[in-house]
Each structure stands twice: as C-alpha cells, then as structure tokens.
C-alpha cells in the first residue's frame, strides 16, 4: 500500500504546487474560472429552487414531479459518470506518458492499476460533484431537510461513483482487450460524438416548445407520462434516488435492500475490476505501446475521385486539394465535426417543417415569403459559422509543414485560390440545399425561390473569400490543435466581417423584395422610378459581392507573400 500512496502522490503534489506557485496571469485565470463556476453554481441553485418551489405549490402532483425530477437528475449524473470514467480510464490506464515509469517501478500490477483507477475517479467525478451539489442543496432547502439528508448525500454518492468507475473501467479494459488503445480512443471519441448528437436530436424531436402550449396534453396523467424518466429498480441510480428521497421527506427507514444493493454492488465491482485487471490490464497496456504504428491506408477510390474532379485545375492544385481532403478525413477532431454539422442541418430543416405558420395572425402567404427572405440571412450565418470552423483555419492547417509549400514552385496566389476552390464547392452545395429545401417546405413563390437561391449562391463566394483571405492574414502555423485557430483574434475579425457582409446584403435586398412582393400580391404595377431603385439595389449587391471576394483574397495574398516566421 506504500507504493499505492507513492503512485498517487505526484498528481496531488503537482496540483498543490501549481496552486501555491501560480502568479500573475495564471492566478487571474484561476480566479476568473472559479468566479464563473460559482456564478453557474448560483444560477443552477436558484433555478432548481424555483422549479421545486413551483412543484411544491402544486397539490397532489407536486411531490411526484419532484421525485421524478430527482430520479431523472440522478440517472443523468450516473450515466455521465460512467461515460466520463470510460474516457478518463483510457487515458489514465493506457495512454498517459508517465505509465512507462509506473510499470518499470517495483510497484505491483495491482498497485499500479488501483492508483491509476484512483486518478480516473478523481478526474471523472469532481465536476459532476461540483455541479450536482447545487441541485441537491436546492432539494434540501426547499424540503427543509434535516442533517441526515446532507449526510446521506455523501453516504450515497460514494458507492454510486465507485459503481460508475467500476463499470467505466471494466468497459475500457474489455475494449482494449480486443482493440489497440489508439483504436479504442477513436471508438470512444466516436461514441462521445454520437451521444452528443443523439441527445441534441432527441431533445429537438421531443418538441419542447409544446410544453408552453396548454392544448398539447389531454390530461395530467398524460403529462406525467411524458415526464416519466426511463427508470428501473435494477439501476443503481434508482437505489440512490430512493435512499436520498426517503431522507429528504423524513422517512429514512425501511430501505435496507437499497442500502445493501448499493454498497455490495460497489464492493463487488472493485473486486471484479481488480481481478479482471490481473488478467487483461498488462497485456492491453503492452499492446498500447506497440499500437502507435502501422495504420494501413487504403484510399484508392478517394484518390481516383479527387483526381477526376480536380484534373482540370492542374497537378499542383490537384495535389494540394487531395492532401487537404486526406488530412481532413484522417483527423478525428476534423471529420467528426461533419457529424455535428449533419445534425445541425437536420434540426435546421426540421425547424422549418414544424413552423406553425397556419396559426399566425398574419396571412400565411405573406409570412411564408417573409420567412423565406429572412432565411437567406439565417442560412448565410450558418454558412459563416461553419466557415469560421473549417475555412478560416484552412491556411493555418498547413501547420509547421508550411515550409513545403513555401519552398515549392507553387505561388502564393495559386496556393490561396486552390484553397478557395476546394472549400467553395461544398459550401455552395450546402447553402443551396438549405435554401431550396426550406423554400420547398415553406411553399414560397417562384420569385422568392429564384431570388433566395441566387442571393445565397453569390453570398457564399464572399463568405468563403473572407474565410480564406482573413485566414491568410491571421495565420497560426504553430497551433497545438486546429480548433484553436478559429478562436483567436483573426477568427473574431472574420465573424464580425462576415456578419456585417450578410446583414448588408439582406438590408440592400429587403426594400426591393418587399416592393416586388407587395405589387405581386396586390396586383399593382411597379413604377419606372421604383424599377430604377430595385435594379440599382441589386447592382450594389453584386458590386458588394465582387469587393468582398477580391479584397480579402488580395490582403491574404499580400500577407502570405511577405510572410516570415
């Protein structure tokens, strides 16, 4: 056990040292973070107090609702705990840099395993404990709980965390038994993304806006049914919720089974994990050391597709685009964002399909066309946000390997325009899908369909030029992760410029579009002066597009040509 203490000590000593020796900016950072956490904590506490007070004012169903909410909260916490233990166990048990030192030391395998598991528990649980506390305190305050309730929180949380840790660590040991640790990391990462997307889509498709519509539910029973959490008496979260609730309402007795189940499951999982570690942990760790290499890359179809599409652009541009596409799809942090993008598009389109236009006091046909027009701006902002993440970092994505481009005969102009072409095509397709499909859902007039398709088509040229051009003016070739690039000063300048550009286009077109639609619906003719104004406005829009394509690209080109690191 002495070795166990030694093995866990560096983390805590390091944490203490960083707190003790932090000074200046890092102290400010810590204080700011602590302030933000405390603020969030207060908001959460106030929110739950308000909700629980509202529940307790509802006779008959108030306590039932509060009990349901408690079950739901504990179930969510328990699920998140398991997931967070899976992620953290992979890194602590298999991928951490100091593991070689631990395994080379005279400590036994069990001591190494238990010490790394302790790290996993600390890494995975502290945040949930911090954020769970205000919720549980709110329950205590609203229900005027006695001291026993607060004690029971500690008494129940400990075995619940141990169960989550036991399950998470067991899952990762089984995964690494069959896949190399690097591959398991990809799988876990992929599962994380799927989980986030799943929750996002689930939440949206539940149509939470119905809760503010009193007609949506026929009876209290139906309402309660809709709220009911997917609970089961076999789940540890159910036992924990049961014990906490009984303490809360002042009837702590009679739940011996829940006590026994909770603690015995926790103890059993510690024994099972330690036993399983003795069999599979070291072989998994050893495999993780070998698995850093040998990643086969079969990409013949991708090669052929890219060279077919980009052939007219010449071998230099083809090479550059092919390299960018391959790098993008082989970087998990990059391609996985496409899944999030897909979910965003699905929800965007879904929102339009459930718009309650028929219940609006404004005549539907006006509203449909007005929404369609505003949608040009909205779609523009979506494209702009995506460009901030994918296109603005396009130049910086060369990273430290940028010397290869700079020392090659490829000119800065060709380099920059190749990037432009590579990103323009997918963005044009996406923008047109967003606009045409939403217009189809809105059943707009042919005029609006043509106008919005053409406007967004032209707008994308400007948005992409702003992204590539400003990305070249504010490059970051020394980034740790490509996601950092968009969060810098340049990224902010890009978002502001792009938003102003979109707002200008929408503002310039708003008047003429209103005039044309009004004359169409009122069956009036447009006067010659009005025609001059309309044509003039559209002409200015086209002029603006040309300026927004040329200027940022020229600025980017100038910067890259003079760039010296």
């Amino acid at each position: 056990m002495n070795n166990f203490r030694l093995l866990i000590a560096p983390r805590f000593v390091g944490f203490r040292n960083s707190l003790k020796r932090s000074q200046g900016s890092s102290k400010i950072k810590i204080m700011t973070l602590a302030g933000a956490v405390f603020l969030f904590w207060l908001i959460l506490f106030a929110l739950f107090c308000k909700v629980l007070l509202y529940f307790s004012s509802q006779e008959m169903i108030g306590d039932t609702l509060a009990r349901h909410l408690l079950s739901m909260v504990i179930l969510i916490f328990f699920s998140l705990l398991i997931f967070s233990h899976i992620v953290s166990a992979l890194s602590n048990l298999y991928l951490a840099q100091d593991l070689e030192l631990c395994h080379a030391s005279p400590a036994t395998l069990t001591e190494v395993f238990l010490s790394r598991s302790a790290h996993t528990v600390v890494d995975s649980s502290w945040m949930l404990i911090v954020f769970g506390l205000p919720v549980m305190l709110a329950y205590g305050v609203v229900y005027h709980a006695r001291f026993g309730y607060y004690l029971s929180l500690l008494y129940v949380s400990f075995p619940l965390i141990v169960i989550a840790a036991g399950l998470g660590i067991l899952v990762i040991m089984i995964l690494v038994r069959f896949f190399p640790a690097q591959r398991a990391r990809d799988i876990v990462f992929f599962l994380c993304i799927v989980l986030v997307i799943g929750l996002y889509l689930l939440f949206r498709f539940l149509r939470p806006e119905r809760l503010v519509n009193p007609d949506a539910f026929m009876s209290i029973a139906q309402y309660l049914g809709a709220l009911k959490a997917p609970d089961s008496p076999y789940l540890p979260s159910h036992w924990a919720a049961d014990l906490i609730w009984r303490q809360l309402i002042g009837h702590p007795g009679g739940q011996i089974l829940s006590h026994l189940l909770l603690w015995s499951t926790a103890a059993a999982l510690v024994v099972i994990d330690t036993w399983a570690a003795g069999i599979v942990y070291f072989s998994g760790f050893s495999k993780a050391q070998e698995a850093k290499r040998r990643t086969r890359t079969g990409s013949r179809i991708l090669d052929k597709t890219i060279s077919l599409i980009t052939r007219p652009l010449g071998p230099e541009t083809t090479s550059l685009i092919a390299k960018d596409v391959r790098t993008f799809f082989r970087d998990n942090s990059q391609w996985s964002q496409l899944l999030l993008l897909g979910a965003l598009v699905v929800v965007y389109l879904y929102n339009f399909s459930v718009l309650p236009l028929d219940r609006s006091p404004i005549k539907s046909v006006y509203l449909q066309n007005a929404v369609s027009f505003l949608n040009i701006g909205l779609a523009g902002f979506v494209i702009s946000a995506l460009s901030a993440r994918f296109i603005f970092p396009a130049v910086s994505s060369e990273g430290k390997a940028f010397w290869i481009i700079r020392s090659s005969p490829l000119s800065a102009r060709r380099f920059l325009w190749s990037k432009y072409v590579a990103y323009l095509v997918p963005m044009l397709i996406l923008a047109e899908v967003l606009i045409i499909y939403t217009n189809y859902l809105l059943k707009v007039t042919a005029f609006m369909m043509v106008l919005s398709s053409v406007t967004i088509f032209l707008m994308v040229f400007g948005i992409v030029a702003l992204g590539v051009g400003l990305g070249a003016v504010y490059p970051n070739f020394k980034h740790e992760s490509i996601a950092q690039v968009a969060t810098g000063f340049g990224g902010m300048i890009y978002m502001i410029s792009s938003s102003v550009f979109i707002a200008l286009v929408v503002a310039l077109e708003a008047g003429p579009v209103y005039a044309i639609l009004s004359s169409h619906f009122r069956q009036e003719t447009i006067g010659p002066l009005q025609w001059v104004w309309i044509i003039g406005s559209f002409f200015v829009v086209i002029l603006l597009q040309i300026v927004v394509v040329k200027k940022p690209m020229a600025a980017g080109l100038k910067f890259l040509s003079n760039y010296e690191d």
Binding site: K292, R293, R294, T295, R296, T297, S299, G314, P315, E316, T318, S319, L320, A322, K323, R326, T327, R330, D331, G399, K400, A401, W403, I404, I405, R406, S407, S408, P409, L410, S411, N562, E564
Partner: protein, 243 residues
C-alpha cells in the same frame, strides 16, 4: 551555380547575415559551417525563398530568387533540419503530393516513388501514415522528397540529424554521385568530419559573416593549424582547441 551578392538579413536591428558573398560553381559540394546562431539557416531560408533578404541578391543557375522565385524553386531541392511533414499522409502520398507541386505525374512518377522508397529503405513503410514514422525515417522521407523532381541544386540544412550510420553513409554517397552528374550541393552542417570528407569547398560563417573559405587544406593554412577541421573551426571561430 549559386551566386550570393552582398546578402544581408536584419531582424529587429540585429544582422543575422551580414554582407555575404559567395560564388559556388556547378557540381560543387559546398560545406557551410559555423557556430549556433551564425546565420546558416537564415542564409538557407533566403536561398530557398522562404525568407526575403533585407538587401543583396541570390542567383541560382541564372535565376534571381527575388524576381523569378518559382523558377528557382523548380530547380532546387530543400532538405531542412527539422522534419515537419503532413503526419496524416502516407509516405507514398506525401511523395506524390510533393511531385504534384512540381507539376509531375503519370506512370513514371510511380516508378520514381518506388525507386526512392527502396533507395531510402522505406518500401515497407510506404503505405503507413507518416505519424507512425521514427525521426530518422521522417528525415529519410524528406531527403527522398527533395530528390523527386531531379533538382539541379540541393540545399541541405543538417543532413545527418537523426540518421543512423547506414542512412548517413547513403546520404554521403548520394551527394557525391549527384555532384558527379553536375548537381550543386549546398550543405550546412555541424558534423565537421562530414564536411571534411565530402565537401570540395567549405566556408566558415561567424556572426553572419564569412570568416574563412576554401578547400579543407586552404582552411588549415588560413588558420595556421594542422590536423582535422575541428581544430581549424575552433581556431577561426575563437573556440578553444583543447591542446
């Protein structure tokens, strides 16, 4: 042929390269040696068009790098000291990408890639991602990529970094073989034995200026010492010879 005329580079008031003049004829293996911070890498970066000189000019095989950068870059092959590569490409894909930047393609390219991978003992690793390569393997891949377009001038910054003895021997022989075919090799190095062994001419750079140049024997005479290049170097740059 490489001609550097009054080449100067100033960083925030400090002259990293100070009025450098060099004339290197075709087929020469030219060694460029000097202490850390002497300005060797800065000179190389200016010669390859990565840095812009503060003043002076660089002509390579008759092309002025300031006016015709693409023409110069088309005939040179750069081997930098740090192997920063596109880690998510395989070795074959990287070589194909590099060739594409020089406008090369087709069936003969596949043959050339196969030949270079074999030459640098990377054939087995050709389809693996570069992220799984060791430091030495990355360096060998960079050297292979610098040769893919058949450069007339090879510019090398520390060629032996991370190379094992087999790799180092291969590179030495390769430079000699290319030079015999008229390729000029400009090599910056700290490995003085390498410079002494393979270079026809050597220049010693200190604080941005050339303090001595010539063949190894001529340098010995200039320094007034006999023996290996290390003693010459230490004497000229003001270090202690230890004897």
């Amino acid at each position: 042929m490489i001609i550097l005329k009054n080449l100067t580079k100033t960083y925030r008031g400090i002259k990293a390269v100070d009025d450098l003049n060099l004339h290197i004829s075709k087929g020469t293996i030219f060694g460029f040696i000097g202490p850390n911070g002497a300005g060797k890498t800065t000179t190389i970066r200016m010669m390859t068009g990565v840095l812009r000189p503060t003043s002076g000019s660089i002509h390579i095989n008759g092309f002025d790098i300031a006016r015709e950068p693409s023409e110069v870059k088309r005939i040179i092959g750069l081997i930098p000291d740090r192997p920063f590569l596109y880690e998510k490409l395989s070795g074959v894909e990287f070589l194909r990408f590099k060739a594409g930047l020089y406008g090369l393609g087709g069936g003969s390219l596949t043959q050339e890639i196969r030949h270079l991978l074999k030459l640098f003992e990377l054939s087995e690793w050709g389809d693996e991602l570069i992220e799984s390569y060791s430091h030495g393997m990355k360096q060998r891949l960079i050297i292979a990529s610098a040769l893919i377009h058949g450069p007339q001038v090879i510019i090398v910054d520390e060629p032996m970094v991370a190379l094992d003895p087999r790799g180092a021997k291969l590179v030495r022989e390769l430079f000699r073989e290319r030079a015999s075919k008229g390729v000029t090799v400009f090599m910056s190095t700290h490995t003085l034995s390498l410079a002494q062994e393979v270079c026809n001419r050597i220049a010693i750079l200190d604080k941005g200026r050339i303090v001595a140049s010539g063949t190894a024997e001529e340098l010995e005479k200039q320094a007034g010492v006999e023996g290996d290049l290390e003693r010459v170097f230490l004497t000229i740059t003001g270090g202690v010879t230890g004897e």
